[in-house]
Symmetry: C2
Subunit: 563 residues, 2 copies
């Protein structure tokens, strides 16, 4: 069998290597437009800080290694210019010599990836000081420009994963960084409440943030925003997203799906059965919504590649759809998410609820025990787990991997509650964050108590709602909501006369655990209108901190207590 | 309802707190023999190194807090001396005044825990310099003795979790530590091959190890072993295991199970329906074998406590049985395990197979990317996942938590292969260790290749088996099996004449990935008798290193390459 692969990063190289493992006698050729056939896409931003010191190290394998170790021919600087499905032939241009030639195939795999979006509506977007980061050549160009011109002020446009990784690595390199994002939050996989923690971390590390701002024009040392603001920047990095490289496919009649990416079947075949497509160029099916979506991630690309190669040789594959798990390192925080967020649930009309808890990530006595901000979404009334978001100085990624595993297995809150995870004080607590989330969520599901999200606390304060802070006196004095009443957990049974029965009473503590205990007790004493503030004081503080720093709104918290 | 709880700590305190949350009006009394009603059992060893500086900090809540915050009466220094199930009465002794009195109950929860075993067959086991570590008083006594007498040489007897944590913390405190273990390995949840990594780490950190040794007598500054060896030690810590505190239960006719612990039903009721038992004093049912077992862990104890309290109030609980997940920090390594190991599978006659892989825990370009030793056990022919063991400088606990989650959900290798975990170069690889293990395991399950475990390599070498090392020349020269032939992956297709077809050929590389590729290719060329060495050179090295240091066996590896 002769297998041609177009594109040689995560998807393409994996198809080729897998074909080789399945069949030593097949002819396998990778055609790659760029000069590198296999490089670490995900590590590109880390060259800016020097974590990956030499950009050469980003190139994982060269054509010689492909040849000697895998007997795979990797033609770099060769571009496929046309696919002729009827004749099973592709037309290739040697980009060095300019020569055109043809190559036949039995099976063709498309893995051209996606290209960074550069909106041509922005004046100056093609200037020499505007960069994208998609490959080793890009990162070399950007880094060389910064070093040679000794650039200090840099604007990053787009607060997604790549944008934030670029921000972090530029800050680590000592640069002055501005982040411009079109929506009201960075990291779209997070909900707005969770994104506040990322916002605070960016601010605390000196990143100047411009949210809900669009770039109008880029000048030599200034970026002009739609609001009229100007941002000092001698270099601009565009990281607002990618678009699948579908032109080759469109030209030969390969069907494009509703998301603008190539439509593939269960086995990653296009409408031409001998042409497969994998990676950032295809659309995939969400396991949770059933809808088509795009997921530009390396893990799924590798899995698709293996499945496609297997199918070429009659091996079947169990395609369960994607759930979307990702994570990012952001200065002192680890941020991870999986499955659906609130925005997704609303979009798809899913009946959901959620809990937002902030327990410590390990036993409090251990060094580096820190709060982990954890949000868990579940379906109502089934309790099926829909998604989770975790942010903390500790192992957020671990908790999200557990939830991702449960989601793939169609797990429910009952399953999560019972999970028997490994525990030592070094790593977690006997009842891990995720177990804890399930217990709280089951209470919500069974309507054992009511809750209100932190995002509504400002309104409650402004409306003079009756808010009780059940933390002990010293904690209250070190920072609290301006009109909260302090009735510590250790005193409430003696101060029942201060707690009204005829109006809604909102309760919180530091992380919602104590307030939940107090609510249970008060309900046992006949109170019926108690509402727990989900996320409690820590959650409120983070949400308000960012707003206070970036808007002129009145403070509703006397001080912030983040320790 | 009046609920009496015997014993504080993880199980008892959790029953009491949960009862309070369910019913504010119930009377809840904890009777605790010791002076502390709630302390961090799992953190006790960390006081020896000063990680937990003040032993007072180990006490999490005092009776005043139980009273003011939870309206729970906690009577410390009170011991239940008799249970009278017929009258629903317990007899209690005030250990301070010596006074005996009675207390009635509607529901009784037994959570007396387990006591450390001190075999009376050992001469001197009750000497003043012999300690156990079960509570805050114990750890205070041990630490005070060490400090006051300025003790340097300490022997720890028992290489389980507590024994190893004590070793580590004593080494951190600058002590000279000897570890004496009766079997041929530390940490029984690990298989022998994986335990070698722990053995090496103990040796490398200066712990003197005595395996397959039993203590005969303890003298003032010497421990005498059955082999005749003597170990210098001015203090001896006994950590050979625990036995459930069942005497109270036995005396009143509570049924004891086959493991010697209290027999409970699905809801943690004993044979007296109003008497519940939870924690280290009960036996539990293994989800994987169906057999009764004991599991002295804090997480399950808390879950049992909640379930028992719930059941007292008619709330039902979903008891899926236990799988047994645990982890430990050992100097530079994180060690974790879940489910069954090979020893368990053999004991229960389960048809199993396993893979032993050693990929990097994160992208190789990132700082601190290190090998993760990972062993995955699965059922044959179903592919159902049975257990896993992980050891590395990176997040071993994370990988084990994912496997534990899959096991609770009855996951198979196919499920594990497809798991969509979160990935960034900081945390993992696009194809995570656990995905990788599933792929290799599926190859084994489908008999795509044969393998032999590292533990058999010595025999192969001694039998002059034909072993090919496919690493590149430089790697081979920095250390290899004495009679292996070096045919690098980049050369094997040109050196086929050196690879015999008529005898078994064993192949390995550094971590088994390249050798698997070579085997796939050679099989495609008609070779039928190829065997991959599972664990490869890294696995072999660890196994042999320990043996070389502790026995006088001939070296079969020219050098060790652990980086």
């Amino acid at each position: 069998m002769k297998v041609l692969v177009i594109g040689g990063v995560a998807g393409g190289a994996s198809v080729a290597a897998r074909v080789r493992r399945i069949d030593e006698k097949s002819e396998v050729i990778i055609i790659e437009r760029g000069p590198h056939v296999s490089f670490s896409n995900c590590c590109l931003p880390f060259h800016l800080s020097g974590i990956v010191e030499r950009s050469d190290d980003l190139v994982l394998m060269d054509p010689v290694e492909f040849s000697t170790k895998y007997n795979i021919e990797a033609r770099v600087n060769h571009e496929v210019v046309k696919i002729r499905p009827d004749g099973k032939i592709v037309e290739i241009k040697n980009l060095i010599t300019g020569k055109l030639y043809e190559e036949s195939y039995d099976k063709l795999a498309l893995a051209p990836g996606a290209s960074a979006i550069r909106p041509q509506s922005i004046t100056g977007v093609n200037n020499a000081n505007v960069f994208v980061v998609k490959n080793v050549v890009d990162i070399n160009n950007l880094q060389s420009y910064i070093v040679e011109k000794n650039v200090d002020n840099i604007a990053v446009v787009g607060g997604g994963f790549i944008g934030l990784e670029i921000c972090e690595n530029l800050v680590e390199a000592g640069k002055s960084v501005s982040l411009i994002e079109g929506t009201n939050q960075v990291m779209q996989p997070l909900d707005y409440d969770m994104a506040q923690i990322a916002h605070k971390e960016l601010l605390d590390n000196g990143v100047k943030m411009y949210l809900e701002e669009k770039v109008v024009s880029i000048e030599a040392s200034t970026v002009i925003l739609e609001s009229g603001k100007s941002v000092e920047a001698d270099v601009v990095v565009m990281a607002i997203g990618v678009q699948p490289e579908t032109s080759l496919a469109r030209d030969c009649g390969i069907e494009i799906g509703k998301t603008g990416a190539i439509l593939v079947n269960h086995n990653y075949q296009t409408n031409y059965p001998d042409i497969y497509a994998v990676g950032d160029v295809v659309e995939v099916t969400s396991k949770l919504t059933g809808d088509k979506t795009r997921l530009s991630l390396a893990g799924p690309a590798q899995r698709q590649a293996r499945a496609a190669a297997d199918h070429m040789f009659g091996k079947y594959h169990n395609n369960k759809g994607v759930i979307g798990s990702s994570c990012i390192h952001l200065f002192n925080y680890n941020i991870a998410n999986t499955g659906l967020n609130e925005k997704d649930c609303k979009k798809y009309g899913i009946n959901y609820d959620f809990v937002y808890i902030i327990p410590n990530d390990k036993v409090g006595l251990m060094p580096n025990s820190k709060p982990l901000f954890f949000k868990l979404l579940f379906e109502v009334p089934t309790g099926k787990i829909l998604g989770a978001q975790a942010i903390g100085r500790g192992a957020a990624d671990k908790r999200i991997d557990v939830i991702a595993t449960l989601i793939s297995m169609n797990g429910t809150l009952e399953d999560l509650k019972e999970l028997e995870l490994c525990y030592s004080p070094y790593y977690s607590t006997a009842k891990d964050v995720v177990n804890h989330a399930a217990l709280v969520a089951l209470n919500v599901l069974h309507a054992d108590f009511k809750q209100v999200p932190v995002s509504q606390v400002r309104r409650l304060v402004e409306d003079n709602a009756f808010i009780i802070d059940v933390r002990e006196k010293g904690e209250f004095e070190s920072g609290h909501l301006v009109n909260a009443i302090n009735i510590p957990m250790s005193e409430f049974r003696d101060r029942l006369d201060e707690i009204p029965k005829d109006i809604p009473v909102y309760l919180h503590c530091r992380s919602s655990q104590r307030s939940y205990n107090v609510i249970s007790a008060l309900q046992g004493l006949g109170y019926r209108n108690l509402i727990n503030i989900s996320g409690s004081f820590l959650g409120i503080s983070f949400n308000e901190y960012f707003l206070d720093q970036t808007t002129s709104r009145d403070k509703i918290v006397t001080e912030y207590n983040f320790n």
